[in-house]
């Protein structure tokens, strides 16, 4: 089959472009370490979340020196916690979100960041993020249609200076080492 010289050049350039795209994504995954939401959050029974060891009492837990876990239940049409009272976290900390749904499919997006996941009943979305050292107020929106009140489903997340941070029902002030780590610079 005869292929025109120009066309051969074009095909070569196209394949190069494709390989380049794949290399970029691969660098993002391997080099920059951007991991995808995957199956590591496990599954839950969406109808019995109130008996679940974590999701029965959603909220913030400290799991490491400056590593926090946030358990969030998405339901028509609130994030618990997040809607009404902002989720509060120390600025500069590493945060793992565990998000699931007690009813329909929702979305969980911290606006302007790549904390962006689907929330599917039966599955736990596990997303780890590092928050900048600069305290900031972030918006959270549900980005998947979930019913007639979908446009009301939003919340806030606030990062505060570590010295001002306290865990409800836990130690009032994070330990000194944790603070030193955060001040220590880049993560």
């Amino acid at each position: 089959m005869e292929i025109h010289r120009f066309e051969k050049v074009w095909v070569g350039a196209s394949v190069l472009l494709i390989v380049g795209f794949i290399a970029t994504i691969t660098y993002g995954a391997v080099g920059a370490g951007v991991t995808m939401v995957n199956d590591s959050g496990g599954t839950v029974d969406p109808t019995t979340l109130n008996q679940h060891p974590e999701f029965s009492d959603p909220g913030v837990r400290q799991v490491g020196e400056d590593h926090y876990a946030v358990y969030i239940v998405a339901q028509q049409f609130i994030f618990n916690p997040g809607t009404g009272t902002p989720i509060e976290l120390p600025a500069g900390s590493t945060v793992t979100f565990y998000v699931t749904s007690s009813d329909v499919v929702h979305g969980f997006n911290v606006v302007g960041t790549n904390v962006n996941t689907m929330v599917i009943p039966g599955q736990v979305a596990k997303v780890t993020a590092e928050f900048p050292a600069e305290p900031k107020n972030y918006g959270i929106v549900c980005h998947e249609y979930c019913g007639s009140g979908h446009h009301e489903m939003a919340g806030n997340l606030r990062t505060v200076p570590p010295a001002e941070f306290s865990l409800d029902g836990a130690s009032a002030v994070p330990d000194v080492d944790g603070r030193a780590d955060i001040d220590g610079g880049e993560r």
Binding site: V11, I22, V37, G41, G122, V141, H143, S148, H150
Partner: protein, 590 residues
């Protein structure tokens, strides 16, 4: 629309093309009639879908909210999506393919009854689904289907919505079987010939469609219909989503491949020339058959419950799916240039001026192709697994697919109707001056709307939301990198109004054409000149449809076998979710 035949005039003479040959409608009156019916349903869906589109755009941008409540927004959105991407596309493609297969094989359908059957199934399916959707507006219809066109469980629509959608798909299967029966009959008479290019494209597209629709058919028939009827209590939302997206990406190629058929086989002729290479066109379609389906996980990059490895495989497959589109860009532009030079064009870019930009069939198809190039590149961002985090489920995504299905397909369909409808009605195109500017109106409207939607998405504005700019009880700030958010909102609204105007122009042209006198010179010719490099220069194995189908099935099994069996490990229906019926109980505001 047989009712109108009585009061419209018919010339004594038969309809002829510009060369004086009998028009398609004279040679294939039965096929022409059913093509007209398909187009009538398609254009009605386009009209309804377009009206819902502009209402929705004005509402969500906050420019005008007087027509609907925010709860009704989702009914409008469902209707817009289903009418556009399920009804308009499927019916238009059924008509276009019936024409392309008949005309390129020069052979009518083997059975008239089967044609009536598939059309009837698709039509009844449309009525059922539309009834359920419109039930969202009024309590008079005891049904509701505000589940959007992706109908993710466990949001639950009325059973007639799922049954209607299933009938449309089953109807399209039977339509496909009829194209194959025509082809087999042709093959008996022409045992050694290459499959004519248009028929080849129709058949390959339908093979892709059969593989792709297995996913959605399983989702709807095995799970959603029994669940909505109460025969089973729960479904697994991740499993049904995965089955949906098994179908949900190849379906976009089901819309695109007919546009490619037009760009490869008709656009070169409208440019004044011939297709550059028949063999390359066949290779492109085979690549689509092979690669369209094993990529569905790229719609589920941020779904929990799916291991990262499967997402990575889908990413690489998706990137290679760029190849057939890049090949097409070359061949189509080269064919256009060839045509322009036949018309006296010269220079490196000067030949562009020699193209028939005043012919809406040409300008619409060419502008659609141009916009598809932009859509292809925004699609690469969607396909870019970890880059996708930034724009997943933001307004970027509908911005992207309004370039692809909303322009590459829709504008090509409208443009080629200016050329095809005269051939299947035997009437000259009406309102030619309106038709001449219609593609440009659409193009400018889409340029404004889609560009602004992409930028809004980059700023984090979510899609599928009635009021993205005024959440109550939460403070949401979008930081736009390109232009202000208020400017973006105005551009989306203005773009949508222009698109609606372009749609009305198209419908007016179609109506005026339909009202023209039948017979005489119809002003177009359906003759397709042969390719510069014909099928005799390409390997025969390209026409081995069964080989390519078998490889496509193997690729699908490789991409989906493991992840689907992992999802089924804990039981087919678990983790199980009971249904959450959508019932808005709102009242029609008028």
């Amino acid at each position: 629309m047989a009712f109108a035949d009585e009061f419209r005039t018919t010339r004594e003479e038969a309809a002829t093309d510009t060369a004086g040959e009998a028009a398609f409608v004279e040679r294939y009156p039965f096929e022409s009639r059913w093509i007209r019916y398909c187009f009538a349903v398609a254009f009605a869906a386009l009209a309804g879908g377009g009206l819902f589109g502009v209402v929705q755009a004005l509402h969500r941008t906050g420019i005008y909210r007087g027509l609907i409540s925010s709860a009704d927004y989702y009914t409008v959105l469902t209707a817009h999506g289903v009418l556009m991407v399920l009804v308009f596309t499927t019916f238009f493609i059924a008509g276009l393919f019936l024409w392309a297969n008949t005309s390129s094989l020069d052979r009518g359908v083997p059975s008239e009854g089967v044609t009536k059957l598939w059309f009837g199934l698709m039509f009844v399916g449309t009525l059922l689904a539309a009834t359920a959707i419109l039930g969202g507006f009024t309590d008079l219809i005891p049904a509701s289907a505000d589940v959007l066109f992706t109908f993710y469980a466990p949001l639950q629509a009325h059973p007639i919505f799922y049954i209607g959608a299933a009938l449309i798909v089953v109807g399209s299967w039977i339509a496909g079987a009829n194209y194959f029966r025509t082809f087999f009959a042709w093959r008996k008479d022409h045992p050694d010939e290459r499959i004519p290019l248009q028929s080849f494209m129709v058949l390959v597209t339908m093979l892709m469609w059969y593989i792709a629709t297995l996913g959605v058919a399983t989702e709807v028939v095995v799970f959603l219909i029994p669940w909505s009827l109460g025969f089973i209590d729960t479904v697994d939302p991740l499993l049904t989503r995965t089955l949906f997206w098994f179908f949900g990406h190849p379906v976009v190629y089901f819309w695109l491949m007919p546009a490619y058929l037009v760009w490869y086989t008709i656009l070169p002729k409208l440019s004044g020339g011939q297709l550059f290479s028949d063999g390359l066109a066949r290779i492109v379609f085979v690549l689509f058959l092979l690669l369209s389906t094993p990529v569905g996980f790229h719609h589920q990059y941020v779904d929990p419950g799916i291991p990262e490895g499967f997402k990575f495989v889908a990413m690489t497959n998706t990137m290679f799916l760029l190849l057939p589109s890049l090949l097409t860009a070359f061949t189509v532009v080269a064919s256009m240039e060839h045509g322009a030079r036949q018309r006296g064009g010269s220079g490196y870019v000067g030949w562009l001026r020699a193209l028939p930009w005043g012919n809406p069939a040409f300008s619409g198809s060419a502008l659609a192709g141009l916009m598809f190039a932009a859509g292809g590149f925004s699609g690469m961002i969607n396909a870019g697994m970890n880059i996708n985090y930034l724009i997943h489920n933001t307004l970027w995504v509908p911005g992207h697919f309004h370039l692809t299905v909303g322009t590459a397909f829709a504008l090509t369909a409208m443009a080629i109707s200016y050329w095809l409808v005269p051939q299947v009605t035997g009437r000259r195109l009406g309102l030619r001056s309106v038709a001449a500017v219609q593609p440009y109106t659409w193009f400018i409207g889409m340029l404004l709307m889609s560009n602004a939607m992409h930028r809004a998405g980059l700023a984090g504005v979510p899609r599928r939301t009635a009021e993205p700019y005024q959440y109550q009880g939460a403070e949401i700030v979008y930081e736009s990198a390109f232009g202000s958010i208020s400017g973006i909102r105005v551009q989306i609204a203005v773009g949508s109004v222009l698109l609606f105007v372009a749609l009305l122009m198209f419908l007016a042209v179609m109506w005026d054409t339909y009202m023209n006198t039948r017979g005489g010179d119809i002003g177009v010719s359906g003759e397709i000149p042969p390719a510069l490099s014909g099928p005799e220069h390409s390997p025969k194995v390209l026409d081995n449809l069964w080989l390519w189908t078998a490889i496509a099935v193997v690729l699908v099994v490789l991409a989906y076998g493991l992840p689907l069996s992992a999802m089924l490990q804990d039981g087919v229906l678990s983790p199980g979710s009971p249904g959450f019926p959508v019932s808005l109980g709102s009242l029609w505001p008028f």
